[in-house]
């Protein structure tokens, strides 16, 4: 933890707050001077995880979402935490195209996108006990520049 930089963002699970969470974590990641595609990856993964906490965690109501983001050297770790209904079968939930939502516009691609954007995606969840998604990404060193 020596030279880590950590922040915690807490908000209510409303769709309009997904953009706030995305922007906050991207602003932290920007401290590593990442490439634009790297920053887009962070935005997308955070967007998917926070959207899930918004639409799946608290059906029919809203609840608290906590985003904890940490930079240690060139590693970004983001935890997206909700206190909602949890996931019964995590393996199934992570399968591309799987969604419990009957809405045909729900793609079931949230976890697939998180995995394609980040180096590591960990899911801790149990029915009735909320969900924690941990996203980890390394930013390879870039040649030093005047900046």
């Amino acid at each position: 933890m020596e030279d880590c930089n950590e922040l915690v963002l807490e908000f209510v699970s409303r769709p309009e707050n997904v953009a706030v969470a995305r922007v906050t974590v991207a602003a932290l990641a920007a401290q590593l001077d990442p490439s634009l595609p790297e920053l887009d990856d962070v935005r997308l993964a955070v967007s998917e995880a926070v959207t899930n906490a918004t639409i799946h965690a608290y059906p029919g109501t809203t609840g608290r979402v906590v985003v904890r983001a940490r930079l240690c050297q060139r590693r970004l770790t983001v935890e997206i935490i909700d206190y909602g209904q949890g996931i019964a079968d995590i393996e199934q939930a992570r399968q591309p195209s799987f969604s419990t939502d009957p809405n045909p516009e729900r793609m079931g691609l949230g976890f697939a996108f998180m995995e394609s954007c980040m180096d590591q995606v960990e899911v801790e969840s149990a029915p009735g006990r909320g969900t924690t998604i941990r996203l980890i990404k390394e930013f390879p060193e870039v040649p030093a520049e005047d900046s």
Binding site: P15, V18, R22, P37, D40, L44, S47, E105, M107, F113
Partner: protein, 110 residues
């Protein structure tokens, strides 16, 4: 999200500006629904100003495609930025919907 709409006979052009996620996809859905009269058989979705899209935005685009296809209409996309293009490709959207560089091109060819 800014949404501009324009109807030209059977064609509805929708121009989006901003980030297309769960929240703004809902607005896009409503805006299209509102203007999708029975006479519309072609939907041109201009994504020029869209700087970000996630799976919720993708779902809303595919949902509009399904809707217009059900009435035997067509749908195409116009001018997407690199992040958006990458996601559309990843999800295979460009295999089912043509993508044009400009609205003029879309109107000529689609």
């Amino acid at each position: 999200m800014r949404i501009d709409k324009q109807t030209n006979g059977e064609t509805l052009i929708v121009r989006l500006d901003g980030e297309l996620d769960e929240h703004t996809a809902q607005k896009m859905r409503e805006a299209v629904q509102e203007s999708l009269g029975d006479e519309i058989t072609r939907l041109v979705l201009n994504l020029h100003g869209v700087t970000f899209i996630d799976s919720s935005g993708l779902g809303a685009i595919l949902g509009r495609f399904r809707e217009i296809s059900q009435r035997n209409g067509r749908m195409c996309l116009v001018s997407v930025n690199p992040q958006v293009r990458h996601i559309l490709e990843l999800a295979g959207v460009l295999k089912i919907m043509p993508l044009y560089r400009s609205e003029t091109r879309a109107l000529e060819e689609a």
